[in-house]
């Protein structure tokens, strides 16, 4: 191959070869994309849906009559969507999910939000009942907090459970000193991460007065 006298190759030929190679590669990728994209997207939707189900503690797929609908949120107002869409922009909260329990009563909203934590952005979902102004449950979806410390916001079940039925807005208190229904402990050694999570929940509810708008919207819908 490496013969000293290499024949000169015309530039157009080089370009052609590259173009052909590029086209072939592109074609291949389009094909693979066609195959995998539905799977990837389905997975994404399923993950989100599972999280919604978890924080609202209902399972519409069990056929017990509970159901989840999605509500589009924008400046104009909230708008019920004909079919539940499991896509959400977590930084602007362009969509929330409304769950009804088996009896048909409103269970609450599931809200996805993200903000800076200690190391990086924390993305979480929580259930919220605007009528009682109570957070139902909280799950961290994505975080890169320090393993062993900050990641307790995800892995410490006892701590995560503190978000069950806590009054919003939540007040962060020192570890082990929770005394009121609107308080959540921080974690020793990971105060910032823990506070970050609490802040994200509060910020989501305060964002463009979301809590108020949700309550109002529910009232207008007569529920």
């Amino acid at each position: 191959m490496n013969a000293p006298a290499r024949p000169e190759v015309a530039p157009w030929k080089l370009a052609m070869t590259l173009a052909v190679a590029g086209a072939l590669a592109g074609l291949l990728l389009v094909f693979v994309d066609q195959v995998t994209r539905p799977k990837i997207e389905a997975h994404r939707r399923a993950t989100l849906k599972d999280a919604v189900k978890e924080v609202l503690a209902i399972d519409p797929d069990a056929g017990d009559g509970s159901r989840i609908v999605s509500v589009r949120v924008d400046d104009a107002g909230l708008e019920l969507e004909p079919e539940a869409q499991y896509e959400v922009d977590a930084s602007t909260i362009d969509r929330v999910f409304l769950g009804y329990d088996a009896s048909g009563a409103v269970r609450g909203f599931a809200i996805v939000h993200q903000q800076m934590g200690f190391q990086d952005v924390i993305r979480l979902i929580f259930g919220y009942d605007p009528r009682t102004e109570t957070v139902l449950a909280m799950r961290v979806l994505e975080s890169r907090e320090t393993p062993g410390l900050g990641d307790k916001i995800e892995k410490d079940a006892a701590w995560v459970a503190m978000f069950d039925d806590v009054k919003a807005p939540i007040v962060a208190v020192k570890s082990g000193e929770r005394s009121a229904p609107d308080e959540v402990d921080t974690i020793t050694g990971a105060t910032i991460s823990a506070k970050g999570v609490i802040d994200i929940v509060n910020a989501a509810l305060a964002r463009q007065e979301l809590a108020k708008r949700l309550a109002q919207w529910l009232q207008e819908a007569g529920q």
Binding site: G22, Q119, I192, K195
Partner: protein
């Protein structure tokens, strides 16, 4: 503005590209023998990273919206060709600058920091200015790590390093120590 500053500082020290994300390790291991070289390499890196960030933003906004599966290919091809063009331009326009930085440019293109920057920037959904801050921060971070490593290595040249630790093993342990030290910046500005 505060957001941009945070992005810059984050890429530079908090999550330093080399010491936290392991990007740009090849020059970190290879070109960190002399402080002078390290500074030039760093400067060339900043330059290429800024170009990359701009390219990536452009591609993301106008091309990849429609064909995300072409991301990796288009990043690598477009960035590599652009750097090549810039290299030729620099050679023509300023031979001095080329002597200082030029030889590093092709090396940098196949450096994971470049592709890493483009991909991180895309994943995080940075806009144009944010991307720019990210690129400058990343570049400064790489330069900082390179300079620190180079000056430590220059000193170690006259040290009586045990035979089995000579070379890469010692560089890695220095890198690990630097990485430990940089953990002090964890959470910088995030609590404010």
């Amino acid at each position: 503005m505060a957001e941009l500053l945070w992005i810059l500082l984050s890429a530079m020290v908090v999550n330093n590209f080399t010491l936290y994300y392991f990007l740009g390790l090849c020059p970190f291991m290879g070109v960190s023998g002399r402080v002078g070289t390290a500074i030039r390499m760093g400067a060339a890196n900043i330059f290429v990273l800024v170009i990359t960030s701009t390219c990536a933003w452009f591609l993301n906004t106008f091309v990849l919206e429609h064909a995300p599966y072409l991301r990796v290919i288009s990043f690598i091809v477009v960035i590599a060709s652009l750097v090549q063009i810039v290299e030729m331009a620099v050679k023509k326009l300023s031979p001095v600058l080329f002597r200082q930085l030029g030889i590093f440019l092709p090396l940098i293109t196949t450096n994971c920091a470049i592709l890493g920057l483009a991909i991180f920037q895309t994943n995080r959904g940075y806009g144009f200015l944010e991307g720019l801050a990210f690129a400058i921060g990343a570049g400064l971070g790489l330069t900082l790590a390179l300079i620190l490593m180079a000056s430590i290595r220059e000193d170690a040249e006259t040290a009586d390093v045990p035979g089995i630790a000579k070379g890469t093993a010692m560089v890695l342990i220095v890198a690990g120590s630097l990485s430990l030290a940089f953990m002090g910046f964890a959470g910088l500005l995030s609590s404010a």
